[in-house]
Symmetry: C2
Subunit: 195 residues, 2 copies
């Protein structure tokens, strides 16, 4: 029996490709093994199990997503950066729905979990983009959370086929980004929560 030349990285890579085709919840070790031309138990020589595999895909997804956003916003600022970054994220989710779902389902396992810096990279990309709007320090975290909420929500709903009415979804996305941009530029002072 010749060797297949697998490694944790190559197994994860193949699993990521497969999960985008068949969906996060349909990933099975048997299917992945078949895809790699190997029997199911052989996979356990490279990854600890299905949970470990999903976690590795999640880390990969967060890194890829962060890079996509960083590359898109590089050298731009203001609305241009917002639109480019948001578009990059939306495209990533539509092209890699399984990876993205894995990224969302993943939970941090400990302080040295590589998922932590991976998520940090995504947040850093958005934070850098928001800096162009010169918000107050105490508003920045709220704006970041809003941005994450709206982009995650839109992507998740779109990927799940949640937008039924036949008004163009692209138009809605563009409109939404314009709305956010205008709001961020306006900097309403009375949005600061009172205590």
């Amino acid at each position: 029996m010749p060797r297949a030349g697998l490694s944790p990285a190559s197994v994860t890579e193949a699993a990521a490709a497969l999960i985008d085709e068949i969906g996060f919840e349909n990933l099975s070790m048997g299917l992945l093994a078949e895809r790699l031309g190997v029997k199911t138990p052989s996979l356990y020589k490279h990854v600890a199990g299905q949970a470990d595999l999903a976690h590795r895909i999640a880390v990969m997804a967060m890194i890829e997503l962060a890079d996509a956003i960083r590359d898109a916003t590089q050298g731009r600022s203001g609305k241009e950066a917002l639109v480019a970054g948001a578009h990059a994220m939306r495209t990533y989710v539509l092209e890699h729905p399984g990876r993205y779902a894995a990224g969302n389902a993943a939970i941090v396992t400990g302080p040295d979990d590589p998922l932590v810096p991976a998520i940090g990279r995504v947040l850093a990309s958005w934070t850098a983009m928001l800096h162009g709007y010169r918000l107050d320090r105490d508003q920045e975290i709220h704006a970041l959370r809003m941005l994450r909420s709206i982009l995650h929500g839109f992507s998740a709903l779109e990927a799940a086929g949640g937008f039924q009415i036949d008004t163009d979804v692209d138009d809605s996305f563009t409109w939404m980004l314009g709305f956010i941009d205008q709001g961020l530029k306006a900097k309403w002072p009375d949005l600061i929560p009172a205590h």
Copy 2:
């Protein structure tokens, strides 16, 4: 062997309660049967299977959610209605994370699927609330999609523990609603996508 007095409705009800405790992906027929004091196969006399059960929970969740939003926004308008409706949704998701997850995972099976009107009720609740802002007709659908995106995204991230930094999440939610309210009141004309 005495009868347990189950019905499709009571089984679904029990499953909904269970799923909120243990999480959507941990629901199993065995656990539900134990909870109901019955053996696993007996459940199949009332629901067609796990997929059917999840679908019933989804329909229930959408109806409950729509009612919660409707009740909260009843008799209010503008920012008051927005805040009350959004708060009602956020509360519902935090109190019933399993049901809500089932609602999101569900897919419409056909034209007479009761999930269709159930989702319609949620959308109708939001649409009624948005009417108070007197938006242009062609902006309304975009605003509705934005609202769904942001509320779903926020709820999903919060339920998944996605907000790590120790700035108060309530403050972020309040800030976000203020942001949306101000933007909707402003009605920027240049948000209409050009064709």
